[in-house]
Amino acid sequence: MGFLTPALLGGVALVALPIILHLIKRRQPKKLDFPALQFVRKRQAANRRRLNFRHLLLLALRCAFIVGLALALARPTIKGSGLRGKEGAPLAVALVIDNSARMQYVYQNSTRRQVASDMAQGLLLQLPESAEIGVLDLSRSSAGFVVDASTAEARVQNLVAENNPRPLEDAVREAIQLVADRKESRQEVFLFSDLNADSFTESAIENINEALSEAPDVRIYLVDVGVEEVKNLSLLPLEMRATSLRLGEPLHIEAPVAANGMADNPLVELFLQDADGKPIKRGQRVAELTEEGIGRVSFELADLPLGTHQGSVRLTTSDPLQIDDTRYFTVEVRPAAQILLLGEDASDALFLREALSPSLIADHASNQFDCLTERYAKANNVAFDDFDAICLLDPPPLSDELWQKIVDFADQGGSVGLFLGHLARANELNRSAAQRLLPGVLKRKSRLTTYFRPRQFDHPALRGFRDFSAEIPWQIYPVFEYWEFADLAGDTYVIAPFANHHPALLERPVGRGRALTFATAISDPLEPVGREPWNLLPTGPEPWPFVALMNQIVGYMAQSENRPLEYLAGETVSISLPPRQRVSSFVLRPPIGQPLRRSLPPGEETIRISTTGELGNYRVASGGEDRRLDRGFSINLAPELSRLMRVDPVALVGALPSDQVKLARTLDDVERYVDIGRTGRGLFPWAISLVAIVWGTEYVLANRFYRESP
């Protein structure tokens, strides 16, 4: 309890006035003759008591009137979050506004973000001019106090939906720290949120609690702008068999649909952008929803020409949250990679060729690889520039000239694969130009039986195994013999080891290209003449791991592995340039806005793009009309931003310190908190009403009491 104008409390002293008047100037009753006084006299005693009571009642009412009036004029207030000892102190306020894409949910013709923004602006009007104001949202940039209230208002007004929001707890903790630094100020944080369950996980609440415990003077007003009963229809991330297609291979897209509170089966449409980027509708399906509200449609597009193709899948049914109704995709159709397989004998290349381009299905499907097999003896006659990669199967001692030619090929950006076997001679390889390609000095042939055992799958050559790495039975394909290296070159990277930790697959950059070395042969038949096979990788039972491994290794070498072309908003996109392509500048065409020209430092082989906040299809081009480089990628919304489950507000506030956190639903609540928190709740209306009642009662009683007799 406090008073805004405590000086007026002195008026209470005037209460002496009616008491003095009561004592010295009692009102004289009207005097009347009345002969029948004897009947009056009989009940006189009781009447006198009543008379005295009325006199005292009137006196009490008049005293109460004066005291009440003085109290009311002193503007009494009740302190809610009043911080003791800081009355009259300046104010430090941080507004935290959840502007994640989820806040685009429309209810009663307003998005949650708009409601939050409006309420925040209403709140800003209430703040005193001297207040320090910080506006924080869920964009990645942190913010301090702004210059003045109008700047804060502009920031609140100009908030845009954030497709890549940081966790709400981060912004809250930042806000707490921001205001807590103003030790001499009252510290208030207003949090405008839809109370999404993902924003207030147990760990998030724990972190906020921890931050609050370190800043005991900070008060958080949690303004709930969410909707109790949410409805949503969302398109989950698209599932594509491959982002890199060979010519003639159909594009297959699966589009899962999730519905929450919407019963009608939605219509899903597929759009493909034409050369000008204009979407052309290429298909539509109705998604049959199950009782759980889950549906799935699939689209297949055949005959895509060579190049980068982009499009989108859209839900046509309207729902309150539209930002998750569209998913974008990018797919590349490439020609088959040209692979040169060199072997001592044509049969050496058999397993690899069958793994890369199986002859059985050659007539039915286009292959990712176009393999040419040649003997080492004739290798000098082959134009290496026509190929994307060269695989040396069990290389025997070769001429320095050939080694140099291979090294030159790698220097120019080509990839060379070395599959060492029984023909390799350590002294030969260790002294020749082959050392430029090999990962290190060959030490010896090891005869420790082991098996190929990749442990990490982040290298592009093994990334395809990542999702089912534990299920590959490498141990049933034993490796009996392999090459050990004495010293690995400094720039060598071990992609995968054998089970005994000796390097099995190694990579070494060579000029602008690279060389991959597999430490054991892949050309040994099951029973070679006069010797034991080095391993059973290609000849073991159902050798699908070998096929997959070779496809990935050679695909990586030929830069034709399935590169990720779909990213989430805010992720940094990496585009590897083709090895033999020189790009000094490129144009980035975002989904909205003008194309941006960027330059690439000399020697840089990867284009990295971090301005990916906007959802949609991006295009990267270089080389003018002939489009020497024409790539693309898609930015989609993180699926968790479609989850609209709310936390129970009461439970949430209950989990936070009750003296520091208050919950509000409306602007009135917010304003009330502002009043309570800052100057206390004004009791003037109540006090003056009470005074009016006292005054009215006194008037009625006094009139009745001292009424002039007729």
């Binding site: 009207k30 009345f34 029948a36 009989k42 006189q44 009543r50 009491f705």
Partner: protein
């Protein structure tokens, strides 16, 4: 309403200053009203003439008839039995009280007494007057002559209430004074010790007299129309009381009603006609009471 009947209303009669006229108007108004009442045919006028015989009062000879016929005739009245009436007036100071500055209880009593006097003389009933305060102060012997009206009215007109009162003692004096059984008509507000009054009334009744008790109170004494804080003063004793009238009204009304009920009960038991009146009531009530009483005796 016929013009003369309005004179039965106190608020009308108070505009007439002469007491004789007041009495006349009241009685005329009353008689007019009787024609439409259950008392129709109850003539108080003479009914016929008969020849004068020896022993008749020569005063009753109708000289007008003698002038026409040269024979003596006397008036014959329907009510042959004459009733000696005494108008007994309370002169206590409390009788002078009026709250609304119209007729005081005393004025009302005098009007009523004068009207009764007028009516009785008209009936050839002898009527006398006794006034008392603490004791009997004036008395006129009952006579039925017309001039008795003048005597009584002039005495009444000059009466002023001024004294403390002692009704009981005064009535005892009256009882002792009256030799023959008479009709005693007492006009008083009875604002004194009721036991004493009741005892003396009984005594009067036991003396063979018929008693009509006109209990006259001021309208304010019956209705207690005061509001707010008032200081009341008893005009007889000078005693004052400060009270909250609003809160007190219902209790007062209970008291006054109990007071009247007490007299009503006692009077009924003693065969006394008790006529509760207040100064706002019409005079015919009292006159009717007298006539009923007279008929019963007749």
């Amino acid at each position: 309403m016929p013009t003369v009947e309005k004179y039965l209303k106190p608020e009308v009669i108070r505009h007439i200053s002469r007491l004789d006229l007041r009495a006349q108007f009241i009685v005329k108004g009353f008689l007019q009203g009787l024609h439409a009442s259950p008392f129709h045919g109850f003539s108080v006028e003479f009914s016929e003439h008969r020849k004068y015989t020896h022993g008749d009062n020569p005063d009753d000879i109708d000289w007008l008839v003698y002038a026409k016929t040269d024979k003596y005739y006397v008036k014959k009245y329907e009510a042959e039995t004459n009733l000696t009436g005494y108008l007994v007036m309370d002169l206590s100071a409390s009788m002078a009280y009026t709250h609304d500055q119209e007729l005081s209880k005393f004025d009302y009593s005098i009007c009523l007494a004068a009207a009764l006097c007028y009516l009785m003389i008209h009936q050839n009933d002898p009527v006398g007057l006794i006034t008392f305060g603490e004791k009997i102060e004036n008395s006129l012997a009952p006579k039925s002559k017309r001039q008795q009206i003048g005597n009584i009215l002039s005495l009444l007109a000059n009466l002023r209430p001024r004294n403390k009162t002692n009704i009981g003692q005064s009535l005892n004096q009256v009882a002792a004074m009256l030799k023959h059984s008479s009709l005693v008509m007492l006009f008083s507000d009875l604002l004194t010790d009721s036991d004493e009054v009741i005892a003396s009334l009984r005594r009067l009744r036991h003396g063979g007299h018929d008693v009509i008790l006109f209990h006259i109170l001021d309208q304010a004494e019956v209705k207690f129309p005061f509001d707010g804080l008032v200081e009341l003063r008893d005009p007889e004793t000078g005693e004052t009381l400060e009270i909250d009238a609003d809160a007190y009204r219902s209790e007062y009304l209970e008291e006054i009603s109990g007071f009247r009920s007490l007299y009503e009960t006692e009077c009924r038991q003693s065969g006394i006609d008790y006529v509760p009146l207040d100064t706002s009531m019409q005079f015919d009530r009292a006159l009717t009471e007298y006539l009923i009483n007279r008929r019963n005796r007749g």
